[in-house]
Assembly symmetry: C2
Homo-oligomer: 382 residues x 2
């Protein structure tokens, strides 16, 4: 019996709602994964994450490989006992972080060679090594090492094509290296901004036998219409019975748009990072709680919210804590934002089941107003 | 009926255990007050503080005056509703912070004039203003504005004497300005390192009608024997039926020594600040959890500890979080250290009641070994 299974239980247009079964719990999809880069979600405890309804956390295999090292995590029995989050984990391979953050990156057929942003030392990460690290970490879902290219189609389709083809060969090597039957392995669709390459990448990746598929390299500069097309052509080629994950995105509006196209999983640092910077999500749009107008505002961040922040604290207190850079402020803001995402996805699932997702989506987008001008993807270390 | 009362219920030598009744709860003494400079204890929630047994929190009136402003707190109904900590609060006036941190400080009879470390603007704090701010904040206990001098006796007794005498005149003005009957007001004994001046200061302060008395300006450079004498001469002059508070100190060894001399209240940033820097308190001495030897250590910070950190997390995980500067690490470490202080004081109270405090004190000091070389007082903003 497989420890891992996915079942689509309701569809509404292309949107779908399902259940992703993992060894550490069942995830109702579409789902949002809070980001715990180093094995903790920015000051938030596992108990708080459970209370606010987090279903699965994402960590970064490359960062954990650097510190504390996968052997330390393995000795503790893996990520679950090491971190105290007993629910499902997904680890990203870190390919994106390396190619976007490290210095002196050289990519060849063997793998990625780079100078560590942590200690400056020269390291090589191969597809096999990325699997080995992730098997030691023991997440429920692992990701293949991919080469992330965000070039524009017209100027660099050759480079995009080369990256895509290498990602495909790396995918095969990853699958051969993968041993743990209690861990799913997801492939990643690349292809820059070229619909042709994305389609080709999805076609090839879908034949390799992955447990799920991801869109890589999006949210880095393409516009909404481009992204919609890139997702659409990939979805046409990807098997419908496996989960689809849009990596690193995004804003609430990005989520509802992508859900409408049939995406099942999301991760993004926006809820925690924006919270830290005083940007709170509400169904009426974002609230910049550091603003002077909230100086004495006794109301909670969002009236209708049931999170532990909104049920106990005022905008005035939150504003004050963020202004004096007190860690408790970042914690309260992150809890609210993560709860906001959880509720948004919960309602999206209900709307799909009720075959009213189009109305739900329009309602959310109308309420949020024009897309907020926030960065869509990770600006620094994830 | 007074909202504020203090009763000594057990004595053992000079050590004493009692109950301090405030409008927001009863404090068993000797007690340690976690420091919430800006109205929150460094990333820790009121619920967590309650669970770990905190009885009273300390905040800083001067810092809250700068941000968010006492009017904001007053509009929220005071510190208790503003911060969500419903138990007793004590506010320090901020005299120490100003004279030690601000630039271009000028002290004259009227008050302290200085450049704000926050916005560089010139401000004046008078004894009356310090009371007015604290009445608006609404803590259960307020402190007079004092002038803190840490000069050596031999070199600057004249300055110490002038400061002491001014503190005495300020104390009278503070008492005249104080209106709230639901708020206690404590006087502060000064006098630098001169036993003669300290005795004199205590004698005068004790005649003015304060609800309690504090030792100010200690822990800034004097040695243990000096401090013991300075506390002793003051205690000879201070009324025994009122609480005595040693401001800003200290290490566990400082606490048991001062309790032996009859001190009832303490505050210090050491538990939270040391935690953040990876120094954990245990009854066998401090544990530098960032050390490489704990890289894979599965044991909790302290085996015998019942705190939420020790019951769930390993030294290896804590070390990792602190190394990658993840806020959750500072939170876990602070919770352990604050719980350690709470347990230490709980045992001290029991030992006093059982008339075995001398044995308890020797046991604690022996187990802790030679006094650890940690800074005793606040190095930066409290």
């Amino acid at each position: 019996m497989r420890a891992f299974a996915f079942e689509v239980r309701a569809e509404d247009g292309l949107a779908r709602s399902g259940r992703l079964v993992t060894p550490h719990g069942v995830i109702e999809t579409p789902a949002f994964m809070p980001v715990a880069t180093f094995g903790a979600v920015r000051g938030i405890s596992p108990e708080e994450l459970e209370r606010l309804g987090a279903q699965i956390l994402l960590s970064n295999a490359y960062h954990l490989h650097e510190r504390p090292g996968e052997d330390v995590v393995a000795q503790a029995g893996g990520l679950h006992p090491f971190t105290g989050w007993k629910g499902p984990w997904l680890t990203d391979s870190g390919g994106f972080q390396i190619t976007s953050l490290a210095a002196r990156v050289r990519i060849d057929e063997e793998g990625v060679t780079f100078c560590s942003p942590h200690d400056g030392r020269r390291r090589t990460l191969t597809p096999e090594k990325a699997i080995q690290v992730q098997e030691k970490l023991g997440a429920d879902v692992a990701m293949v090492l991919d080469e992330c290219v965000s070039d524009d189609v017209a100027t660099a389709s050759l480079r995009s094509r080369a990256a895509m083809e290498r990602t495909w060969r790396w995918a095969e090597r990853s699958l051969r290296a993968h041993r743990r039957v209690d861990q799913a392995l997801f492939g990643i669709v690349q292809g820059g901004y070229s619909p042709v390459l994305r389609r080709k990448s999805a076609q090839i990746t879908s034949t390799l036998g992955f447990d799920g598929h991801a869109h890589g390299g999006l949210g880095l500069g393409e516009n909404a219409a481009q992204r919609e097309e890139l997702i659409a052509v990939a979805h046409e080629a990807l098997p419908r019975h496996l989960p689809r994950y849009l990596m690193g995105l995004g804003r609430p509006s990005d989520l509802v748009q992508a859900i409408a196209q049939g995406v099942d999983l999301f991760d993004c640092v926006i809820p925690t990072r924006n919270g830290r910077h005083g940007i709170l999500f509400t169904r009426a749009g974002t609230l910049a709680v550091r603003n002077a107008r909230y100086r004495s505002d006794p109301s909670p961040p969002e009236e209708s919210c049931d999170c532990s922040t909104c049920s106990r604290y005022s905008r005035a207190y939150l504003r004050h804590l963020l202004h004096v850079n007190e860690a408790f402020g970042a914690r309260l803001a992150a809890i609210h934002n993560l709860r906001f995402y959880r509720r948004l996805l919960e309602e999206a699932r209900a709307a799909i089941r009720g075959r009213s997702f189009a109305t739900f989506r329009t309602g959310v987008l109308d309420a949020l107003g024009a897309p907020a001008r926030e960065p869509q993807a990770e600006g620094g270390l994830r």
